[in-house]
Every structure is written in C-alpha cells, then in structure tokens.
C-alpha cells in the first residue's frame, strides 16, 4: 500500500493510505491486531447481501405472486440489517482503523482516524489506550498535515509518519523507541519507562534515521 502513489487532491485516498500505514507499522512492531470490529461489519453486510440474493432467487424461480410474503419479510430484515450496519459504522466503529494490543500483553490500543476538515489536508487521530488488565481508558487526539508524510508526487514516506506516531502515542513509542523524536521528550517526561527506552535506543543508533526523513513538503 505504502508504495502506491495517491492523488494529492483526494483527501479520502490520503486518509486511506495513512490508515493502511498505521496497521502495517504497528503490526511490524509486533502489535497484535484485533479484527473483531471489521469482522462484525463484514458479517452484517454479507448477511444482508445473502438475504437480498435469496429474495432474488426465489422471486426468479417461483414468481412474485407466490413469494411476496417472504419477499416482504426479506425486505424488512434487509432494512433492519442495513440500519444495524449504519449504526455499527457510525457509532461503534466511529472511524476506527486499528485495534490491537501492544507486544507482550501490553496496553490495548484503538485508533480512529478522520479527515479533520473537508477541504484541508489534515489527518486527525483519536487514540484510546487501556491497560490490558482493565482500568481507565485514556484518549488523546492528534492532528497533523498529510504533507508531512506525502511527497510532492503523492508518494507515501514512511519514516516521518512513523516518527509522528511513535512520538505522539506513548505505547507506540515504547515499542519503537528509536522513532521517537527528541523534541517530544518533554511530553514523555512523566513516563520514565519510555524515557529510558528512548535514551538507550539513541545510544545504540547513530541517528541515521533522522536524516532519511528529510523529504518533507511544505505547503
């Protein structure tokens, strides 16, 4: 996905490509992705489709008059399932693009993404984390410009995007300390684990990563 060019004029494409990159990145960090939400959506959707197909089938083979009671029921059930699907997408998923658990039984993380404004290239994330043992979920909201990780030709550049995630979301930062930008260290001061991880990572690497992300596009 990340290797594909997207049209810079298409906010939906920019968002989709970024969404896909989130999953790729977190999974590469050994996050365990949970597909329950997608699976429920697919089940409702395909269930509705199967009902419509069945209604089409009996209508074709037995005629309208003989089957209209069943057709009426099928239409009602289909409508209900579509309602359920709409409810699921807008209230339960509510933009969720990733659900998973940090490596080694770490925190649970849910990321929802949005196009923050209709005609501006702003990527908005709502990240909810919750300790695996239960407890109070925490939510942070982030907003960045797509221009930070798409170049002029519409090519996705992974490094700055991953740095953005690692620096802004503590649980990601812990899993990939060398992507954490030093400027954001202030944010992490309350989190001594993370700070330690970042320090030791920086000692190991020579900062080569920092230079590779220079393909920024200013608008």
């Amino acid at each position: 996905m990340a290797a594909n060019k997207v049209s810079l004029a298409n906010l939906a494409d920019l968002k989709n490509a970024s969404d896909d990159a989130i999953a790729n990145y977190l999974n590469s960090l050994s996050f365990k992705q949970s597909h329950t939400m997608t699976d429920v959506r697919l089940a409702i959707g395909y269930g509705a489709f199967v009902i419509a197909a069945a209604a089409g089938g009996w209508d074709y083979y037995f005629g309208f008059e003989n089957t209209k009671l069943y057709t009426a029921i099928a239409v009602a059930v289909y409508t209900l399932l579509q309602g359920a699907l709409a409810f699921w997408i807008s209230f339960v998923e509510h933009g969720t693009v990733y659900q998973g658990q940090a490596p080694n039984g770490g925190q649970k993380i849910t990321i929802a993404s949005f196009n923050a404004k209709k005609h501006e290239p702003l990527y908005k994330l709502k990240v909810t984390t919750q300790p695996a043992s239960g407890g109070k979920p925490e939510t942070i909201e982030l907003e960045r410009s797509f221009t930070e990780w798409f170049d002029e030709s519409g090519l996705f550049v992974a490094a700055p995007f991953q740095r953005f995630l690692a620096s802004s979301i503590p649980v990601v930062g812990r899993a990939d300390p060398k992507r954490v930008k030093s400027e954001s260290r202030d944010l992490l001061e309350g989190d001594s684990d993370l700070l330690d991880a970042v320090m030791s990572a920086e000692a190991e690497t020579t900062g080569a990563d920092k230079k590779s992300g220079g393909k920024k596009r200013k608008v």
């Binding site: 049209s7 004029a9 298409n10 494409d13």
Partner: protein, 223 residues
C-alpha cells in the same frame, strides 16, 4: 473530486437530483391549482342493432348506438403541468347476472385534448397538426380547449355485452369523465368528493334511460 470522470459523475448526479426535485415541485403545483369541472350530459337518441363482432363471425350480437349532447367546462384542468386531457363518456347499466350491485360500464366516446405544449406529439397529419398548433395562437396553455359543446354527437364506439344481449337494458346512465395527463407527476381522474382545491365534477351524469328493442335492420351492414 480528483479526476474528470469523478467530476462528471458528480455533475450528472447533481443534475438528476435538481431535475427530479424541480419535477416534483412542478407536480406539487397541481394541488394548488383550482379544479372546477362541470358539465351537463344527456342521451339524445338511442338505438340497438344486430351485427357481427367481426367479418368472419357467424354469431350475431346486439349493439347499442347512443347519441348524446354534452356541454362541459373543463377549462380549469389546463395548467402548465397539463400535457393532455383525456375526456371520455361512459354508459353504465346494472349487471344483475353478475351479482347484486354489479354494473357494466363501457366507453362510448372519448377525445384527446392536448395542451398546446404537447401539440407536436399528437398523431395527426402535417396539415392537421399545423392547424392544431395555429389554434393555440402562440399560447402554451389553452383552457378554452376544455370547453366542450357537442350536440347530438354520434358515439365513437357501439357498445355490446359478452352475452350478446343489450337491447332493452334499463337504468342506463351516461357519465362524463376526465383524466389529466401531467408532464410530470400524478395522473388524476374525477374526484369522488372535493379534495382541497379540486372540486368534484358538478353534474356530468345523465338521467336514467332504457335502451330500445332491437331495430330490425338489414344485417349486411357492418356494425
């Protein structure tokens, strides 16, 4: 909104939405236009003859020929959304053989009256069409076409009955009906009662009459 095909799609989608909404609004204006149809109809001459339903038929059936006079004012039915007015006269008589309240009903005369906006669609020769168009005098709505004055009009259709018998039928009435064909929206017929600004047909039903016995006639003549 990122490529031409996409934009074309949106433009077309928007166009259809606007056109459909506009059509619905135009159709709604029908409800606002007052309808006050009225008319007087009476049968002027009736006869029943025997004839064959078609040339090769050996069976003979009775046919009723009902002449009538009609004086109707349907001008209020012509609005900007009227494409044509279909006016028809039916004869109605009881059908006791089919049940207590059963009736027979048959059209004896009809007429397509176009609004000038639809004159070009009429099935007429070039000369007839030209005349029709000229009669509108450049207007697109012609309520005066809804004024009907027919004296002792010959029926367009001679009516019969599946049993082959119609002579001496009793309690026959003639009734004037209209069907407004819109340019967009609902087709409408006579209303049973007043609906908003649409008044029910004032008059439009003849007195009851009986059909005569079969007229003895040279049956070589086709009905």
């Amino acid at each position: 909104m990122h490529n031409s095909l996409n934009r074309l799609q949106s433009v077309f989608g928007f166009f259809t939405t606007v056109a459909f909404t506009l059509g619905c609004l135009i159709a709604l204006t029908d409800l606002w236009a007052e309808r006050t149809p009225s008319g007087v109809i009476k049968a002027t001459n009736t006869q029943v003859v025997k004839g064959r339903p078609h040339y090769y038929s050996s069976k003979k059936e009775e046919y009723a020929i009902i002449k009538f006079s009609l004086d109707a004012d349907l001008s209020s039915l012509f609005t900007w959304n009227t494409k044509q007015l279909f006016v028809y006269v039916t004869a109605e008589w009881p059908a006791p053989e089919a049940g207590m309240n059963a009736t027979n009903e048959a059209v004896i005369w009809d007429s397509i009256i176009t609004n000038p906006s639809a004159d070009h669609l009429v099935n007429l020769g070039p000369i007839g069409k030209k005349k029709l168009k000229a009669s509108a005098g450049g207007k697109s709505i012609a309520p005066e076409r809804g004024l009907l004055k027919l004296k002792n009009q010959k029926p367009k259709y001679q009516i019969s009955h599946p049993s082959g018998k119609i002579a001496s039928a009793e309690d026959v009435t003639l009734k004037v009906h209209y069907n407004v064909q819109p340019w967009f929206g609902l087709l409408t017929w006579n209303t049973q009662s007043d609906i908003g600004r649409w008044k029910s047909f004032a008059g439009g039903v003849s007195d009851q009459f009986s059909l005569p016995a079969v007229k003895v006639k040279d049956d070589k003549k086709k009905p």
